[in-house]
């Protein structure tokens, strides 16, 4: 069954959505959109580093994404003007990554695949990595769930209940880096942040609880991945943008559904 590239692509999309859905909910609640962008863009630099040094691509991506996520998180903790700082970091990381990739001698890197994803080219090995990463992220979030939600709601409230908000932020930073590494092949660096935000925003319109929103975001993300895959296959459109177009359609639909229900 895994021999069929379409099945592999579908499973890759579902695996990615399983991680980006719940994590995306936190990105929305904590207004970390730019944070996601900076980390995702850094992943391209990670690919270049990996190819230049002979590291596995996944390891390079993960390391550089983690370094970027930790940098941003550390700056945020020190009260930097986040909007501008993150903007500078996110865009510089993207530019530097693309420049670095173009410098690599003798390696032909498919820049389009890096930027927009190449879900139809997912190998069985990629699939194993994607699902391992996604399950790791899910396990991490499930383990820390109550503390994460409390710390997201109010740092003081969390503190008084014996939860360290800084530690929970670190958990999210780690989860974000792993998710970026997992989603790079499927969605591409440019739109990973969209895959975090759009399904979660769609889920918000109809969800009644934090858990409901996280779960629904995963389901909507998986649906969008499958629909986007079909679109990409039929019309030969780039995979990542096709998935996000479908997620955006889900967002519009759920807004309408939310309006209807509230009357």
């Amino acid at each position: 069954m895994l021999d069929d590239f379409l099945v592999r692509a579908a499973l890759a999309g579902a695996g990615t959505a399983a991680a980006t859905g719940p994590l995306g909910a936190f990105v929305v609640w904590r207004r970390m959109a730019y944070f996601g962008d900076a980390t995702a863009h850094a992943a391209i630099l990670g690919v270049a580093v990996a190819l230049a040094s002979g590291l596995p691509v996944m390891a390079g991506t993960l390391l550089v994404a983690l370094a970027m996520a930790a940098t941003v998180s550390g700056l945020a903790g020190r009260g930097w003007a986040m909007d501008t700082t993150l903007g500078v970091l996110a865009h510089s990381a993207l530019a530097a990554g693309v420049v670095a990739v173009s410098f690599l001698p003798g390696v032909r890197v498919d820049l389009t695949a890096l930027l927009f994803g190449d879900i139809l080219a997912v190998s069985a090995g990629d699939l194993a990595v994607i699902w391992t990463g996604a399950l790791a992220v899910l396990a991490l979030l499930a383990w820390r769930w109550s503390a994460l939600v409390t710390a997201t709601l109010d740092a003081d409230l969390a503190h008084a209940a014996g939860i360290d908000p800084d530690r929970e932020r670190l958990v999210l930073t780690l989860a974000l880096a792993v998710t970026v590494a997992v989603a790079l092949k499927v969605i591409g660096a440019l739109l990973i942040a969209a895959m975090l935000i759009v399904p979660a925003a769609a889920a918000r319109a109809v969800a009644q609880s934090p858990e409901g929103m996280a779960l629904l975001a995963a389901v909507i993300g998986a649906g969008a991945a499958l629909a986007g895959l079909a679109l990409s296959w039929r019309l030969d459109t780039p995979a990542g943008p096709s998935v996000i177009v479908c997620a955006a359609a889900a967002f519009v639909l759920s807004l309408a559904a939310g309006r209807l229900r509230r009357g």
Partner: protein, 274 residues
């Protein structure tokens, strides 16, 4: 005071940027005590509570909390972001999950109808949210309640019921209460000890002692004395000695209360209780 200390601070100093918000505050609260912190806006009341809970880093001094102390905290304000769908029921279960029965009991205790449980927190009125937060603080079986202006937004009956509830809870569970309040006349009736704060401890001690202290009057004026007198049926002379009195953390201060039951206010002891 023989009851065990729950929280104790020595020389607690907090800086925000260049400003010294709290300067050398000594504080302690024992099991079962009701202590109220009063002081003008910006005098560092919320900062003191946050420092005592370990939320606010100290520039100097120390805070010791009894290990494993169960705290029920109601912050001065909680901004629930609309991006997070959150019912009152779910908020009550953060971070420790309550059963449906416990949830219903917690809401009933603070005078909220059961229907509130399934409303979105962002849709609650200010007073309703305040009650839900109090219910949450109580539901954890706290050994100390730390309440920052807990009656803000409550209606008159709500406020009266709130102070009765606090007394009841203390009686039933022996829970200590540390709160900030601006309702001076009620504070004076309902507290074991009052701490008057303005960047430093101006004076502290039993309500009658504090309300007569010149430091207290310099901050709140003699007017509050009138309503207090009515409330407490205490007869007192109106002193016109609310003289200039340097207050504020950065300034020299004439006198500071020792943390031993209000002796620092003894200068005001020209009066005795009837």
């Amino acid at each position: 005071m023989t009851a065990p200390r729950l929280i104790e601070a020595r020389g607690l100093t907090v800086r925000r940027g260049a400003a010294t918000v709290l300067d050398g505050v000594d504080f302690r609260i024992a099991a079962g005590e009701i202590v109220t912190v009063v002081g003008p806006n910006g005098s560092g009341k919320s900062t003191l509570l946050r420092a005592l809970l370990g939320i606010q880093p100290l520039a100097a001094g120390s805070v010791t909390r009894r290990p494993g102390l169960r705290v029920g905290y109601v912050p001065q304000k909680l901004a629930v972001d609309r991006t997070m769908p959150l019912t009152a029921r779910r908020l009550l279960s953060l971070p420790r999950r309550l059963s449906a029965t416990q949830t219903a009991a917690a809401l009933a205790r603070v005078g909220l109808p059961a229907g509130v449980a399934d409303r979105q927190v962002a849709d609650l009125s200010g007073g309703q949210l305040q009650r839900v937060l109090l219910a949450r603080a109580l539901a954890g079986g706290p050994e100390i309640l730390v309440l920052d202006e807990p009656t803000q937004g409550l209606d008159q009956t709500g406020k009266a019921a709130f102070y009765r509830l606090i007394e009841d809870i203390r009686r039933e569970t022996g829970c200590a209460v540390l709160m900030v309040s601006h309702e001076l006349h009620v504070v004076m009736a309902a507290s074991d000890r009052v701490v008057c704060l303005n960047g430093h401890v101006c004076c502290e001690g039993a309500p009658q002692v504090v309300s007569a202290a010149p430091e207290y009057r310099a901050l709140f004026g003699p007017g509050t004395q009138g309503s207090l007198a009515l409330y407490r049926h205490v007869h007192d002379h109106a002193h016109d000695d609310a003289h200039d009195h340097a207050h504020g953390p950065a300034q020299d201060r004439p006198r500071r209360a020792e943390a031993d039951g209000g002796s620092g206010c003894a200068a005001a002891g020209a009066r005795t209780d009837a």
